[in-house]
């Protein structure tokens, strides 16, 4: 019997940087190639598709601003899940925590709308972070004391949160116009834009929070304990680290950051609460965190790129009538190919003649 045999061999030494970059680049190319194939099925020329996608994302100053605006909630949600992932707690619930943040902020805006800006805005942030954080704490408590899998619980909590948001805007918070949305926020509840641009101050919030996160992991004892527990739970137990507390804390922080993103969305972008704010930032955030390998600077960059992808896909929708689901498919493909590409960093394929 003669023939060729493909065998998988483990790499014996760690992959150099150039190979990681090559694999990442190749993975994105494969994902784009596959999506273009989808476009071709609808009779759209690949070149035209790519042009519309890229122009929509980064082709004009308007597009770039739109991209940046989308990157802001993405960055905060992603920063949040990355903190949880550091401890190897798989928080898939940023979407729901984002919704709760929006609900919390809206509650403060509606209840204390007459307060001056410098009181109302911090109040809204506090309400948003508490709502998002507490929402995320519940799965953490279930995990540590009831042994419930956090992946499933956080995932299910997303749907509860989204339905809760619907319940509120269709019910007690419904605007007098009759549409499923709250009344517009008072002037004081709105976070303004920077100078004459369309970019709101949320961008500065992102920069500060990103810096804080980096500082937290670099220089604080709790940050260190999270890092150590994430590397080896047994060693954390051995060293007397309060693991249960750390899990709850990490989920609280994680949810609070997603909640902050929810605040920015209602206060700075939409100026009211409505179901259309739920566009899946919380899910994309997981992709971002993973692609960026949990590094804050990497998360900033990746958020911007994936936000661009979203903007580009919107452009595809407008210009070429591509269904919105295409964006989700593209995003999913990129995550899949990048994760699959990781295989080539630890293994190689050997072709051998079989004898």
């Amino acid at each position: 019997m003669h023939g060729f045999l493909l065998r998988i061999a483990k790499r014996q030494e760690p992959s150099p940087l150039w190979r990681s970059a090559l694999v990442l680049f190749g993975a994105v190319l494969v994902a784009l190639g596959l999506s273009i194939l989808l476009l071709a099925l609808r009779g759209i020329s690949p070149l035209e598709g790519c042009r519309v996608l890229i122009m929509g994302a980064f082709g004009s100053s308007w597009a770039l601003q739109d991209c940046l605006l989308k990157a802001i909630p993405l960055f905060l949600c992603s920063l949040g899940v990355a903190i949880a992932f550091r401890l190897q707690i798989w928080n898939i619930g940023a979407e729901g925590q984002f919704a709760l943040g929006a609900i919390g902020a809206t509650w403060a805006a509606l209840a204390f709308g007459a307060q001056p800006k410098f009181i109302l805005l911090p109040l809204m942030i506090l309400a948003a972070c508490s709502a998002g954080g507490l929402w995320a704490m519940i799965p953490a408590i279930f995990r540590q004391w009831l042994g419930a899998n956090e992946i499933i619980v956080t995932l299910m909590f997303n749907y509860i949160a989204i339905l809760l948001l619907d319940f509120l805007v269709y019910g007690i918070w419904r605007d007098s116009s009759g549409f499923p949305m709250t009344p517009a926020f008072s002037k004081n509840a709105i976070l303004g834009t920077i100078g004459t641009s369309d970019i709101h101050w949320g961008l500065v919030h992102c920069a500060l929070l990103g810096l804080l996160c980096w500082l937290f992991f670099r220089s604080t004892r709790l940050g260190y304990e999270i890092k150590a527990s994430g590397d080896n739970v047994q060693a954390a137990r051995y060293a007397g680290m309060p693991y249960n507390f750390l899990v709850v804390l990490v989920m609280l922080l994680s949810g609070a950051l997603a909640g902050w993103a929810g605040f920015l969305e209602v206060s700075a972008s939409v100026h009211r609460l409505q179901p259309s704010i739920m566009v899946g930032y919380g899910f994309t955030a997981i992709v971002v965190a993973w692609l960026a390998r949990l590094n804050p600077a990497g998360i900033a960059l990746t958020s911007f790129l994936l936000a661009g992808l979203r903007a580009g896909v919107e452009n595809l929708q407008l210009d070429l009538q591509i269904p919105a689901a295409f964006g989700a498919i593209l995003e999913g493909l990129i995550l899949m190919t990048v994760l699959a590409g990781g295989f080539f960093l630890s293994y190689r394929i050997v072709v051998r003649r079989q004898t």
């Binding site: 061999a9 604080t220 004892r221 260190y224 890092k227 150590a228 590397d231 080896n232 060693a235 060293a239």
Partner: protein
């Protein structure tokens, strides 16, 4: 058949990692039908040399000859094809699968699995080498010795002509070790080449046909065991200076009680009583798996006591651990260095901070600069290689990792030290260093030493306790020669009479 041409010939092999010369001009002949022992201190380059042979690493220069012809062992598979097999210290077995499945795993003999034919083949092999194994047994149910036999059968099944054993006796009972040596002899008799890596000098003298000594990456000595070759002489050649196997030890006046265990039960323990004072060292000996682990985990706060009481520094177990005083007063040096005592994926500084972090905390902040200064000094004092605090823990050799753990734990100036097999896998010089440190630490602490090495226990202890099936069957003072002579029987479960054990116990405490 053992002609002039060796099975494997290493010709001036060199391998460097950065500036470190792990192997330098290694030339060595490995003959079929002979047992070659490889001796050397930690970091002497034994692991690197074996990795070169197993195809995991490539030499920078030099040649490997197989039956006189040059080969390039470019991968582990290539090495296996050339008939080179390794029995690693940590077994590479699938616990949930049967013995047979583990042995035939990874065989590329066509697409279909011919189970009955394979089973016949393996059974014949087992018979030929006198290895009595139930092929249908699940690996998870086997003892360490039996698992090792599975590894050996696996290699024989792959028709390995050279079997390399990395510290094979470190996980075995004395009886299992004797068995292993018989199997090794049998394999050598049937023409296999054997390489045996060990730190235990007596074993090497007992089993080896030829001994090669590695030091700082070079082979400094090759000799054959002769009648006049004694362990001390071998040790001298290995470390290059006379090593006293007897440890210098002075009596200390025991002071206040640091640990009191009363009627401790549950988790496989039964009515364990012991008391430990500052200034004394109490060893617990016994075959692994007789409750030592549960006892240590109870004392060190990993497992709450089910029955009975544990008092540490005069405080109740629950109070002691609720107050989180472990960091300043109790040091636990666990057997499992990689899994429990360190974070392999973090650097040495982060690993140093693991149990010392509170000392470097200012409010919420962690003062890493001061910690780094302290660590850099410790890395020097304890001669830990490499001396770079940004190295990752997984890159350290076993001995250096253990030294790091010890450096960290002693740095805390604890008052109670629980050390589990602290010298396991260490070479003599490193083990001596550990012994010296432990004895020195008695000044300020009470030490509970759990060891499988009776010689170690006798050399260091003020009192010795024997564990069997969850019970502390006896505690005796070091000068109680009559009881000490009976330790082997006690380890096997032939307990002394009640009165005798009680008497020696009291003697031990009060003397």
């Amino acid at each position: 058949m053992q002609g002039a041409v060796p099975f494997i010939q290493l010709d001036t092999l060199c391998k460097s990692f950065g500036r470190v010369r792990a192997n330098h001009n290694i030339s060595l002949d490995i003959h079929a039908g002979k047992i070659l022992a490889l001796l050397g201190e930690n970091g002497a380059g034994k692991s690197t040399l074996m990795s070169l042979l197993a195809g995991q690493l490539q030499p920078d220069s030099g040649r490997i000859l197989l039956n006189g012809r040059q080969v390039v062992l470019s991968s582990t598979e290539k090495a296996i094809q050339c008939g080179i097999g390794m029995v690693y210290q940590h077994f590479k077995l699938v616990e949930a699968m049967s013995v047979l499945e583990n042995i035939v795993l990874g065989q590329s003999q066509g697409f279909w699995l011919k189970r009955s034919a394979l089973k016949r083949q393996v059974a014949e092999l087992a018979r030929a080498y006198g290895i009595p194994l139930a092929l249908n047994a699940r690996v998870s149910t086997l003892s360490m010795g039996e698992k090792q036999q599975v590894e050996i059968l696996k290699l024989l099944f792959r028709k390995s002509d050279l079997l390399i054993f990395d510290e094979p006796t470190s996980v075995l009972t004395p009886a299992e070790a004797t068995n292993l040596f018989a199997t090794m002899r049998e394999m050598a008799a049937q023409g296999k080449a054997i390489v045996f890596i060990s730190h235990k000098l007596e074993e090497v003298l007992r089993i080896a046909d030829h001994i090669a000594i590695l030091k700082q990456g070079e082979i400094i000595d090759q000799l054959s065991p002769a009648a006049d070759l004694v362990p001390a002489e071998l040790a001298r050649r290995m470390v290059g200076r006379p090593v006293l196997l007897q440890v210098q030890r002075e009596e200390l006046e025991p002071r206040q009680t640091v640990l009191k265990v009363q009627g401790l039960g549950g988790n496989g323990l039964e009515q364990v009583d012991l008391e430990l004072r500052q200034g004394e060292l109490l060893s617990l000996v016994g075959v692994a798996g007789n409750g030592q682990k549960a006892l240590v985990e109870n004392i060190c706060g990993l497992l709450p006591p089910r029955k009975g009481a544990v008092r540490i520094l005069g405080q109740d177990w629950a109070d002691f651990y609720a107050a989180r005083q472990t960091e300043t007063s109790l040091s636990y040096i666990p057997e499992d260095r990689q899994g429990l005592a360190t974070c392999p994926g973090l650097d040495l500084l982060d690993n140093f901070l693991l149990t010392t972090r509170h000392a470097f905390s200012k409010g919420p902040w962690l003062d890493k600069n001061t910690a780094k200064d302290k660590l850099d000094k410790l890395l020097q004092d304890f001669a830990i290689r490499p001396q770079d605090s940004s190295t990752h823990a997984w890159q350290l050799s076993g001995g250096n990792l253990q030294k790091l753990v010890l450096a960290r734990e002693f740095y805390r100036k604890p008052r109670l030290i629980v050390a589990e097999q602290p010298t396991q896998g260490l070479d003599i010089a490193a083990a001596e260093e550990v012994w010296r440190l432990l004895l020195q630490a008695r000044e300020q602490a009470g030490i509970l030493l759990v060891t499988g090495d009776l010689a170690e226990a006798l050399a260091l202890s003020d009192r010795i306790g024997v564990m069997f099936r969850g019970k502390l069957v006896a505690i005796m003072a070091r000068h109680d020669q009559k009881s000490i002579a009976r330790i082997p029987q006690m380890m096997a479960g032939l307990a002394p009479s009640e009165g005798e054990s009680q008497k020696t116990y009291n003697q031990g405490v009060e003397s």
